[in-house]
């Protein structure tokens, strides 16, 4: 009995030793993981949206998992693989609820003969625990192009927690469990990068840059791969249908504002106010006929902070936005009246 214990202890000690030896250098792990990373170049370069991001190969034929962002909305989406080869890619599927997207290299022929090194989402390591070491691979700041390997950082999983991001340009719509990291992994262009354990086994996808506007602090989070695996599998088979996000659905009883806009006749009818219902929140805020609504900001009654400012491009966008807001939401509009810009605020009432 004691002898068995003794050998067990020796075994544990040896296993720890082997792990320690591997831990002493991450060079081999970095080289191996980097072969599965791609540099993605697309649309952007304005308003804080980078024209580049990171992705992970998840099939031998050039399927790439990344974070959904406006960067992918490009007719000229390009990826650079580890070996420096450059390819055109196309957006296959995106899931706003999970904040992930699948893109695919257009010309898959070469990879039938020479399969690409990739992450197999069907064979993931056991989930990590708080305190575990991680490595982060991403093309933050677009440091790498062509055959240059992406940047590697090291950190610790500081927390594993349900995640609630915020709306806006840099919104993180992901709603599941997230890993919160102690290293600054979520830099510009890092989204879609890979978090691995110290052995280089894939754990999670690096999320977006995310700032709490109340505390001015940045959150470095990553989305566990098991949560994204079924999306990826369906998207690769072409079977994926996006989930409609709860908060974007029109509410059965949206809040009442009392603004009547001009008839929506063309594709992008400018959101001019036709009339204002007497005694309505909009009337109290001082809206007048012929005001042109430019921007909109909302703070839902249950929300801690305001949502990011939205540009109101048409009657339709205004209606959609307002139909998703419940009574009690504080709304701030910027309107143009003649040559003046005015900020008008009101609170949505329950519908009558």
């Amino acid at each position: 009995m004691i002898r068995r214990w003794f050998w067990g202890l020796i075994g544990c000690w040896l296993a720890c030793g082997a792990a320690a030896a591997q831990e002493s250098t991450f060079a081999a792990v970095s080289r191996q993981v980097n072969q599965k990373m791609v540099k993605i170049f697309g649309a952007g370069g304005y308003r804080g949206i980078t024209a580049y991001c990171t992705g992970v190969l998840i099939s031998p034929e050039g399927d790439i998992l990344t974070v959904y962002s406006p960067t992918l909305d490009s007719v000229d989406l390009r990826v650079h693989l580890y070996d420096g080869t450059r390819h055109s890619a196309v957006l296959v599927a995106a899931e706003p609820q999970l904040d992930v997207a699948l893109i695919r290299i257009k010309d898959r022929e070469p990879f039938k003969l020479q399969p690409l090194p990739h992450v197999d989402l069907g064979q993931l390591p056991p989930p990590p625990q708080v305190g575990d070491w991680i490595l982060a691979f991403s093309n933050s700041f677009e440091i790498a192009t062509g055959d240059e390997p992406v940047s590697v950082q090291r950190g610790v999983i500081a927390a594993i927690t349900p995640f609630a991001g915020r709306r806006g340009i840099h919104r993180a719509a992901y709603q599941g469990t997230a890993y919160i990291l102690d290293a600054v992994t979520n830099n510009p262009g890092a989204q879609g990068g890979l978090i691995t354990n110290r052995r280089g086994e894939p754990l999670a996808l690096i999320g977006k840059e995310l700032k709490n506007t109340l505390t001015e602090t940045w959150v470095n989070y990553a989305m566990p791969l098991p949560a994204l695996a079924s999306f990826a599998a369906k998207a690769m088979k072409g079977e994926y249908k996006p989930i409609v996000r709860e908060e974007d659905k029109p509410l059965p009883n949206p809040g009442r504002h009392g603004l009547i806009l001009v008839p929506d006749v063309v594709d992008r009818t400018p959101p001019f106010v036709e009339s204002v219902e007497t005694g309505s929140p909009a009337a109290q805020a001082g809206f007048q006929p012929d005001d042109l609504i430019l921007f909109l900001r909302a703070k839902r009654p249950d929300a801690v902070e305001e949502e990011e400012e939205q540009v109101v491009t048409s009657v339709k966008t205004f209606r959609e936005a307002m139909n998703a807001l419940p009574p009690g939401t504080a709304v701030r509009c910027v309107v143009r009246r003649g040559s003046q810009l005015l900020t008008l605020e009101f609170k949505l009432e329950p519908a009558r």
């Binding site: 000690w13 720890c16 030793g17 320690a20 030896a21 831990e23 002493s24 250098t25 991450f26 060079a27 081999a28 792990v29 970095s30 080289r31 980097n34 370069g45 304005y46 804080g48 024209a51 580049y52 420096g84 080869t85 450059r86 933050s140 700041f141 677009e142 440091i143 790498a144 192009t145 062509g146 055959d147 240059e148 390997p149 992406v150 940047s151 590697v152 950082q153 090291r154 290293a183 600054v184 992994t185 830099n187 510009p188 940045w218």
Partner: protein
């Protein structure tokens, strides 16, 4: 009796235990407490952790302890800013960033972790590479400084550990450096100039925290060797605080510039003089080449494909910039390219040596028009990758402008270490290095040679066989090369380039002999326009096919002709010379060999003469005579 307020330990009063048992339990508790206490230190020192982890930790601590004394906290005199640095030899030479010393002027104060403050003087500058060499002055003359050894940054791999040390936010008023630790995130990184002439090429990216004030400090490997000089970071929208992306100038790049820096020079970076682009297949080709550069004379033309440079294969524009960016202007390096001949419709692979041109004008390097680094950089243009910024010297919290640097008083002893001269960071050190080389050269030569006439007779062994003889008089050189006779009056006004470069095809062998005689007999007095130390440069005794030897260089100019003299670094033997009759025309090159003692003078007995891509000839000297002094 135990007080009641410790109910957990109030066993003594427990009604459930008989007194004897109570005593036994207490004794047991006391014993286990003692036992735990005896174990506690073992647990605290972590003997349950793998001994190899302990060992690695101990090694790391030892490395930090070993090199920490060499880390410098740099302050502008007058307190108007500062940064970090590291001492690299016992004499007190220390590396830092250009943007750290720039606000300091020519003199600065340096604090070492021993708590003492030292005077320091600027030695050399590499403004493009953001490197500066300074020298600390010991309190006792000749007292050695602690220093850190230089490593080999080409051996650094992504994932390796790195240790940064320095003085972030100028925290350390007692000059002890802050140590930050992280893995190497990238190697051979190219970072675009950030609104200035500063360009980080082939640099090391580290996640070890680099913040304002860390600039100029060392990045170490786990052996405590310097692998880089920290100086830049990517910050973007989070203010000037580290976000896990810092950059260090690779130490191997700095090694290439070290000779120039020690020589008090303001050294420029290099260009081929060609614009290159990558095509879809990743081939790197020349888009546009200047007609005046050496690469053009070596046959490089628009459309040619670049294969390798300085022994490294080329596959991307970034890589090309990386490789080019680590060399000083004027260096000669191997280039391999593929040239397509339009007329013959053939492709030819060319392996050659190319002299690199400078990137900047002198006024750009030292002029006031240069935007001061260390200030907030202009935002990158849309679509451009965000330029990383130097964390900068940490300015003191002063409203408005940082304090102006205070010059030391006129009679301050530090001033004897400084000499101003346009084009030099500190001409004192140029004279110092020049004198070192010159003294060594005279020692191995056996003393200055008497003035002419000299008579040199020998035999041509290549490409033809035949006699060669030269008569060197002060302003007249006469020669016989095989059957032909040549004559040169080097100082004759209005002499054409064609006459000066006689014999035809040599690029000016007679002129070269004239300058060689002047160097050996007159020394500095023979070169009215220039007689400087030129740093270190590679020299190729066997030409393009052979290996390079890093040599000390003296630059001379007399009568409008510039010469570059190459000296073997350990003993200052003169290995060769390039004689430039005109800047845009290939020089006459001579490789001196087979040094033998003749009448107390050690002189070369084998001369290999080259010009352009060809060898002009090789002569074996049979006799060299000069008037007895």
């Amino acid at each position: 009796m135990m007080p009641r307020r410790f109910p957990l330990f109030n066993l003594y009063q427990s009604p459930f235990l008989p007194p004897a048992l109570r005593r036994a339990v207490l004794a047991g508790l006391a014993f286990s407490l003692l036992w735990m206490l005896s174990l506690a230190p073992a647990w605290l020192t972590g003997q349950d952790v793998d001994p190899r982890i302990r060992e690695a930790e101990a090694q790391r601590l030892a490395a930090i302890e070993r090199v920490r004394p060499a880390v410098v906290a740099i302050f502008a005199r007058g307190g108007g800013g500062g940064g970090s640095g590291v001492i690299i030899d016992p004499e007190g030479y220390a590396l830092t960033n250009f943007h750290v010393v720039q606000p300091c002027g020519n003199f600065m104060h340096c604090g070492l972790p021993n708590g003492e403050l030292y005077e320091a003087v600027l030695v050399g500058l590499d403004p493009v590479g953001d490197v500066a060499l300074i020298k600390l002055m010991p309190h006792q003359p000749g007292a050695p400084f602690p220093f850190a050894p230089l490593g080999d940054s080409d051996q650094v791999k992504v994932g390796d550990w790195s240790i940064a040390m320095g003085n972030p936010f100028l925290l350390a008023t007692d000059f002890t450096p802050t140590v930050t630790f992280g893995i190497v995130s990238g190697t051979h990184r190219y970072q675009y100039p950030a609104g200035t002439i500063l360009e980080y090429t082939d640099c090391i990216q580290t996640e070890a925290s680099i913040n304002p004030g860390n600039s100029g400090g060392p990045l170490f490997n786990l052996d405590g060797q310097i692998i880089g000089i920290n100086g830049r970071g990517s910050f973007e929208k989070r203010g000037r605080v580290n976000v896990g992306v810092g950059y260090a100038i690779s130490i191997n790049q700095i090694k290439n510039f070290m000779g120039h820096l020690r020589g008090g020079m303001i050294v420029d970076h290099a260009t081929l003089g060609a614009v290159v682009k990558t095509d879809e297949e990743g081939k790197l080709s020349v888009q546009q080449i200047l007609g005046t550069v050496d690469a053009y004379r070596r046959g490089l033309r628009d459309g040619d494909e670049l294969i390798s440079f300085a022994g490294r294969p080329l596959s991307s524009v970034n890589q090309y910039k990386n490789i080019l960016g680590i060399f000083p202007k004027g260096w000669r390096l191997p280039l391999v390219f593929r040239h397509y001949d339009e007329e013959k419709k053939t492709t030819q692979r060319v392996e050659t040596l190319v002299r690199l041109a400078g990137v900047h004008r002198r006024d750009q390097l030292e002029g006031p028009g240069r935007p001061p680094p260390g200030r907030p950089q202009p935002a990158p243009r849309p679509g451009q990758p965000p330029s990383p910024q130097p964390p900068g010297p940490q300015p003191q919290p002063q409203p408005g402008q940082p304090l102006p640097a205070v010059e030391p008083p006129k009679d301050h002893p530090i001033r004897q270490w400084f000499a101003a001269k346009p084009g030099f960071a500190n001409f004192y050190f140029n004279q110092f290095e020049r004198d070192r080389v010159w003294t060594g050269f005279l020692k191995q030569l056996g003393g200055p040679m008497p003035a002419g006439p000299w008579k040199l007779e020998g035999e041509i062994v290549r490409p033809i066989k035949g006699p060669a003889s030269f008569q060197l008089q002060s302003a007249l050189i006469e020669a016989k090369w095989a059957e032909a006779e040549h004559r040169l009056e080097p100082l004759k006004p209005g002499e054409s380039l064609e006459n000066l470069s006689t014999p035809t095809g040599s690029g000016g062998l007679l002129a070269a002999l004239y300058h060689w005689q002047r160097l050996l007999s007159l020394g500095e007095k023979g070169f009215e326009a220039e007689f400087h130390y030129g740093g270190t440069e590679p020299f190729y005794p066997q030409g393009a096919a052979g290996s390079a030897l890093l040599c000390d260089v003296l630059l001379t100019e007399h009568a409008g002709v510039k010469c570059k003299w190459y000296f073997q670094p350990q003993d200052q033997i003169l290995l060769g010379v390039e004689v430039w009759l005109e800047e845009s025309v290939d020089p006459c090159e001579i490789v001196f060999g087979d040094y033998r003692l003749k009448d107390d003078r050690r002189v070369p007995h084998r001369w290999e003469i080259r010009h352009g891509d060809r060898e002009f000839g090789v002569i074996v000297v049979q006799s060299l005579t000069w008037p007895k002094s």
